[in-house]
Amino acid sequence: MNCPDFDTLMMLLDGELEEEKLKEVSEHLMLCSRCRYLIDSQRNLETSWRDSFVTPEDDKFRSMECSIFNRINRRSRWKIFVPAAAAIIAVLLGVKLILDKPFPGRVTELSRGGRAEYPVDNVQFGDVPEESLTSDIDGIDSENDVSTGDVTAEITGKTEGYSLADVEPAQPQSSAGENSAEEHEEIEIPEEIISMGAVEGSSLEEQMDDISDIITLSLDADTTGLGTAGTMPSFTSTSEETEDNRALNQSGEYYSRLHETSGCGMNASGADIYIELVFDAAGQPDSSTALLLDSLFAGWSDYIPFVYRDTVLVVPLADVQELFMESTAVPAETIE
């Protein structure tokens, strides 16, 4: 009989040979010393190697047991803790967002290109030449005039309009409430006035971009109130304690607080309360304006005067609703 191959002999060694094959190979081994030695040497080799292993002391296993168990438990605790912590943080952030939402810090509308970002605190009305309060302000000749663009404005009824082009660009350092009355040209504005500023012409935009992103306007119906220029004036309530005025005062106080915290546009002087309404290039009120309007009357969005594009309106608080309701009848400054 020929010697079985190495694989068969190893299977015999491993006890994996089938009965019939086992008998056959066993008979061969009785006769073949070479195959017998091969198996013996392999067995010795493997047994020596297997028996040579030195198992570490039990203490090490016990130490590892504790280590593994603690690690597994720690991971389990984290699996519970992390989602819980994430949920708590999410709730806190949500609450903070809700609380912060009514107080946006900046207004970014006004310019058609959306470039003129300016803090509402620095927007004032004033420095308006008397000429600009005429029904036709084309050809305004002012030292501070930065505009050469065509400006049109109309005064109909109680609406007064003038262009931002007539407004002197502010120095940033002087717009922090340091302007004195002497620094501003005193003007007389009718008791009930809606002042409307508009930017017209691309040339003006470019010039405005050149000078500053901060635009300073000032407006006071009461000429003695110019000291508020530079920062939004604090709210002054109406003196007469009529029922309407009490409501007005309450609203004004709200706006005053709102302005202090968020810079939402509002002007007040003397006995009148004025608020600023800022409309973007699409004729939509900016976020601060929308917030004010929300507080004034419901459904204002149904009467959005789309004609007020790139426009800042300064209107008496009491007339806002009327302005919106009759917006189609109010001539407005437009750009295009």
Binding site: D14, E16, S41, L45, R50, P56, E65, I68, F69
Partner: protein, 199 residues
């Protein structure tokens, strides 16, 4: 489907290891201790045989038990637990060895080859010296590829049957046999004439 679920449940009920595993996973310290003590030495031994040092073996042993806990949901209860933990251990050891080989790829082979050959040649002078021969065998085993070594370790050191090795490594029986014979052949080739007297 229902039959499979029932069989699975029956297998789980008959398998005390999986019950220990589940209890341990839920924080039962005693259950974990019992399970760990049952397999700790075998797992360590496989790890130590597969890798080159005690430190690596401890790391692999620890990782093997942690992974067994984490991957408990993947454990197929129709198989024996020890084959599963062996599979985890050998896979960890193989991955560990591959990483190590990549790190030392340039210098490892030459140095080890020369060293191993020298050890074998040295041992030729004194074939009766068991320790030296053992050293040569160990070095020859270490030179096996991880796949061959895993089969060799499970068969020779753990004395698993071919079917148990196939189950542990998730390979076919034929693959087990071919790998085992290749491993043995390579070891004998490494030892060379040191085995002459046995033959």
């Amino acid at each position: 489907m229902l039959l499979g679920v029932l069989l699975s449940m029956a297998g789980e009920n008959e398998n005390p290891d999986i019950q220990l595993l589940r209890k341990a996973k839920n924080g039962d310290r005693d259950a974990f201790g019992e399970l760990f003590r049952k397999y700790e030495k075998r797992v360590f031994r496989v790890a130590r045989r597969m890798c080159g040092s005690d430190d690596e073996a401890w790391d692999i042993t620890q990782d093997a038990f942690i992974r067994a806990m984490q991957a408990m949901h993947r454990y197929d209860t129709q198989y024996r637990f020890f084959t599963w933990i062996y599979r985890i251990t050998t896979n960890l050891a193989i991955n560990y060895a591959k990483k190590k080989m990549r790190r030392r790829e340039v210098h490892f082979c030459e140095a080890y080859s020369a060293e191993g050959q020298q050890a074998i040649e040295d041992n030729v002078a004194d074939r009766a010296a068991g320790e030296q021969l053992l050293g040569a065998i160990s070095k020859a085993v270490d030179k096996l590829t991880p796949a061959l070594k895993a089969v060799f370790v499970l068969r020779i050191d753990q004395q698993l049957s071919y079917s148990e090795i196939a189950e542990s490594l998730d390979i076919a029986m034929g693959t087990v046999m071919s790998r085992l014979n290749r491993a043995r052949t390579k070891i004998r080739e490494e030892l060379g004439s040191m085995l002459g007297e046995w033959e």
